[in-house]
Subunit: 339 residues, 2 copies
């Protein structure tokens, strides 16, 4: 690997001069600059990022932490991050946690050691653990998808979870549903709680009292959605509509419904977060709240990259992006006598 010294030696100039040309810093004689640039190209010089980072104590790398890379939502967010980052000469380290606390903690430590310029995370932690685990790095940390409560000062890129859940549940109510059950995310995740909140608000506004058993928490995996739906179907008062907190649990629920010989939306209506049909070829076009995934990624990356506003080293910014609501074809009027 050719280094500054090699270029310098060849041209009979000093290392610092070459460095200055490479970094486009300080004044350097136009003539020498030209010669240096030529040699740089000729010898195909590539700066050693590690040396550079050691010296400057920063790096042109962003770290991303997601619970499940095979979830298209997260893949898409990463795509947005990567695009924004690459545009600024940054690269992206991706950590997948498989929804486990341990791997998430490891990931944070890993990224800190790398001295990344920023961490973008869809944490599965609640406030307490976020504080403990994400308090350490001295780079910007940006949360998305599941974000900490307002108690914690951080950067967030999110949609309005309360409003979007209210919108989805409200749509079901509009169509005549009253027994709207919810397959929620794990307790302690603030965003999951907010969605529950929105759902509750919508019911309340319609004069419906949600019973305790109407909401069950899953783990965002398909299997839990299936299990919970099966449970719902055994109730003496099964739901006429079900709202799932993510795509995979919605898929599980839908399969349970089919397995019971029921139809969607004729027998049961279904709605979910992030479950919109991106292929256009799904059997069920699920009514969905769609987070603008690539934008979320891009904005999160921007937050890491953009220099903070004057005096605002500690200013936290909560960016609320617009969600979309896709009505799909999975919600219909409840059967007469069942609503």
């Amino acid at each position: 690997m050719v280094k500054l010294k090699d270029i310098a030696a060849r041209l009979g100039v000093s290392v610092s001069t070459v460095s200055r040309v490479v970094n486009n810093k300080d004044r350097v004689d136009p003539e020498t600059r030209k010669r240096v640039l030529h040699a740089l190209r000729e010898m195909n010089y590539q700066p050693d990022e590690n040396a550079r980072r050691l010296k400057t104590n920063t790096s042109n790398v962003l770290g991303v932490i997601v619970p499940d890379l095979s979830n298209p939502f997260y893949a898409s967010v990463i795509k947005g991050i990567e695009r924004e980052a690459a545009g600024h000469g940054y690269s992206v380290i991706v950590c997948n946690t498989d929804e486990t606390r341990e791997r998430e903690r490891d990931a944070v430590a890993l990224l800190i050691r790398q001295k990344v310029a920023g961490i973008i995370t869809a944490t599965t932690f609640g406030d307490e653990e976020v504080r403990r685990c994400y308090g350490l790095p001295d780079c910007p940390v940006v949360f998305f998808d599941n974000i900490p409560s307002e108690q914690i000062e951080t950067h967030c890129v999110t949609i309005d979870n309360v409003r979007s859940a209210r919108e989805l549940a409200g749509y079901m109510i509009e169509r005549g549903h009253r027994r709207i059950y919810m397959i929620s995310g794990p307790r302690g995740e603030y965003s999951a709680d907010e969605r529950v909140h929105g759902w509750r608000e919508a019911l309340k506004a319609a004069g419906i009292t949600a019973r305790d058993g109407w909401i069950v928490r899953g783990d965002f995996r398909e299997e839990s959605g299936r299990r919970i739906m099966e449970d719902f179907l055994t109730r003496t008062q099964p739901p006429t509509a079900v709202l799932a907190a993510n795509n995979f649990m919605a898929y599980g629920a839908i399969k349970a419904i089919f397995a019971a010989g029921l139809s969607i939306p004729e027998d049961i209506s279904v709605g979910a977060f992030d479950a919109a049909d991106t292929t256009g070829l799904m059997r069920i076009d699920i009514a969905s709240i769609v987070q603008p995934s690539e934008d979320i990624g891009a904005v999160a990356a921007e937050l890491c990259l953009k220099p903070l506003p004057p005096g605002g080293a500690r200013i936290s910014r909560r960016m609320v992006l617009d969600h979309r609501f896709i009505k799909g074809h999975s919600v219909a009027q409840p059967r007469a006598g069942k609503g």
Copy 2:
């Protein structure tokens, strides 16, 4: 950030001793080791990876290059890579090229500068450009999905593209199809060519002569699949079955078929690579060749991580993994009089 020097100072030992404990190298007095370990924990020491890399001139980072992060196949491969890498204390830098040559070249340069320990790439380049672009790094390079021809000495993790295409086309022939058209990938991609080869072989073995117009090359995007299928449907002899080189083009083709008021598989049969229904909720369960995506990632990572066999610094390994063939429900007998 606490450094070796701090720990050393606190304990009154030398930096090297602390370093030795951290790296578990050389002999160190059990007693001192204990004290050091304690201090390490107490002060929450995190090694500065950049300094370490600068010194050792290696890094515990793998680089991955994919054409499209939002393609679940690539996301899944990355997941496999990440799991294997994390298990060895490595992290993964992901580069998305949006199928463009320029971004791929940039990505390679970027990864080289980072001194990554290995590059895993689903290149979109043909042999010539692979040679030019991937010849430079002095770390292992592992190709998957689209791999260079045997002309080039490299590591590859792949399925048997010829055989799998033959299998898919053969299945259609078995069901009675003769006019089997192909929506292929860009010319120059070796793996795409191999698949064409397999398709041709299957036809030939059945005594069918593939006409020139039977195969059209797309760009792996849905739109191209749609366009090509529309073209096929205007032919005086439209296909009774179509084979697409990837999931997105298959989706486009299917939509074109539906848009023409035709049914699958009643009017036209469809098969594809990497288009198996992972959700279990697609309208069309596409007959698919399934690459073992996570395994491909894991094996590729392993190739980067595992020390080479004695004397084999330049030995290239082509790992051929088993594919699966999912029959789905998108292939039926051609309508009488149409075969």
